[in-house]
Symmetry: C2
Subunit: 283 residues, 2 copies
């Protein structure tokens, strides 16, 4: 079951490289819990988790951890709580774990959603995504060229989400349906608008990467119910999976604007407002 928790940490100083240190802390804890799993995850090309520092007030640091893999979430939380009393090291500074925020009430970037729920996400013809930390797509080319695309290309956005859905969901699309979806997205998904689009260059792991943040609206020009259903699922997945490359290093934090509720008696629908004003410590 996909989970997103936010750890509230407090320490003597603001960490210099919060994303890098968080990554180190995560693997240190993981090694303590299961050295073999840590090694395997470290080497995996596609990691079933994301880690991003969020900016807090005063000296508080919020560290967001999401996972798509049940085998990872509960044990990780246990070892985290076990290690907490000694202080959690970020770089050379120990941090105190103040709170673990696991629900949207505790923190707008926390929550849980069963795969079966994501699968039942309402169909969409349009999706507005808020890219809260710099997002980039690895668009490598033949001949060993490593190329990156820091642009909200609709095909790259849903392509990345579909990759993640296929890799981690218990309900992957069969190959033929997956291929048909990719073709439909290529033909019929258009960028309907963007707002507050910014370019960034950030450190993620050992290197610097370009990326964009901002609000992006995708529009599907297709009557295909399967494509509309997939757009619903994939945009709901984004909150847990992140989008694009380097999501274990704080990049690609994204969420979709809640879809308008089906018409109810009152027009004042209680849909929660998107918290797209939220900044991550990377930006």
């Amino acid at each position: 079951m996909p989970h997103a928790v936010v750890l509230e940490l407090i320490g003597e100083k603001t960490p210099l490289y919060p994303a890098k240190y968080a990554h180190g802390l995560f693997f240190a804890l993981l090694s303590r819990m299961d050295p073999e799993l840590a090694q395997r995850l470290h080497e995996a090309p596609r990691k079933p988790f994301t880690l991003a520092p969020l900016i807090g007030r005063n000296r508080a640091l919020f560290l967001r951890f999401t996972t798509l893999d049940d085998g990872l979430f509960a044990p990780f939380l246990r070892v985290l709580l076990e290690a907490a009393p000694e202080g959690l090291p970020l770089g050379d500074t120990p941090y105190r774990l103040m709170r673990v925020l696991a629900t949207p009430e505790g923190h707008s970037m926390a929550g849980t959603c069963a795969w079966a729920e994501l699968k039942k996400a309402p169909r969409r013809r349009e999706a507005t995504l808020f890219f809260q930390s710099p997002t980039v797509f690895a668009t490598s080319k033949p001949g060993g060229r490593t190329r990156y695309t820091p642009l909200p290309d609709p095909r790259l956005i849903v392509g990345s989400l579909l990759d993640k859905w296929q890799a981690h969901s218990p309900y992957p699309y069969p190959p033929r349906e997956e291929a048909a979806l990719r073709i439909l997205f290529e033909l019929d998904l258009e960028l309907a608008g963007f707002h507050s689009l910014r370019f960034h260059r950030v450190q993620a792991g050992k290197s610097f990467f370009p990326g964009f943040t901002g609000e992006v609206t995708l529009k599907l020009h297709s009557e295909s119910l399967e494509a509309q259903e997939a757009l619903g699922r994939l945009s709901a997945l984004a909150f847990y999976s992140g989008v694009g490359a380097k999501t274990p290093y704080g990049m690609g934090v994204a969420r979709v604007q809640p879809s308008p509720r089906p018409k109810a008696r009152s027009s004042h629908s209680p849909a929660s407002p998107p918290s797209h004003g939220f900044r991550t410590a990377l930006t």
Copy 2:
């Protein structure tokens, strides 16, 4: 020889649809000069001119006209000057032609450059382009789908400029070289950054189109001198040709930042600063 002139017009009121009215005026003048040419141009899928209203001060309106076709420029200017004393109609309002600004000294968006000069433009590994009016690429798909991409995709930018170079320059690349260039751009041209990127939806002709404005830096990761030479030529062409679709309706006004001069004795090189702050009346 590519030309860019700016007409300074003055009228009783600010036109409601300056780009549309300018287009109408242009074709009215053209019909007066050569009805057959007007008809031919009107039907041509690829037009050898661009037209864009620029925002002026007070009641002045600046109308920018560029052409890639010598057969069009001089006769058009003649008929414009002949018609001017009666007043030039934009919509239902006659405008007085105050000045024709044909040099960069007169207006930063005016100038002339011989094709042979464009061909000799300095090689570039990097180009910063300022998109001053909303720019969009027609990226239509099979099955009669009309799709538009309002994003500064490096491949679409240089692809559009190469199309224009091939269609209008007396020095087109032979087919095999053209194909090789397109492959190199596809593989080795990357978006190195962007700034002040904004989304717009503007009327151009009968419909509304999405588009972006802003500053975009392209970087060529290739040792190919031919590709670097082409990037130099194409980015110099942008000032005269515009970029992308609907350039006869005010979209795609763009210019490149002058390349840094080869190291001279003084480090205070007199390269003219880019006037990317200039706004068009469309934005």
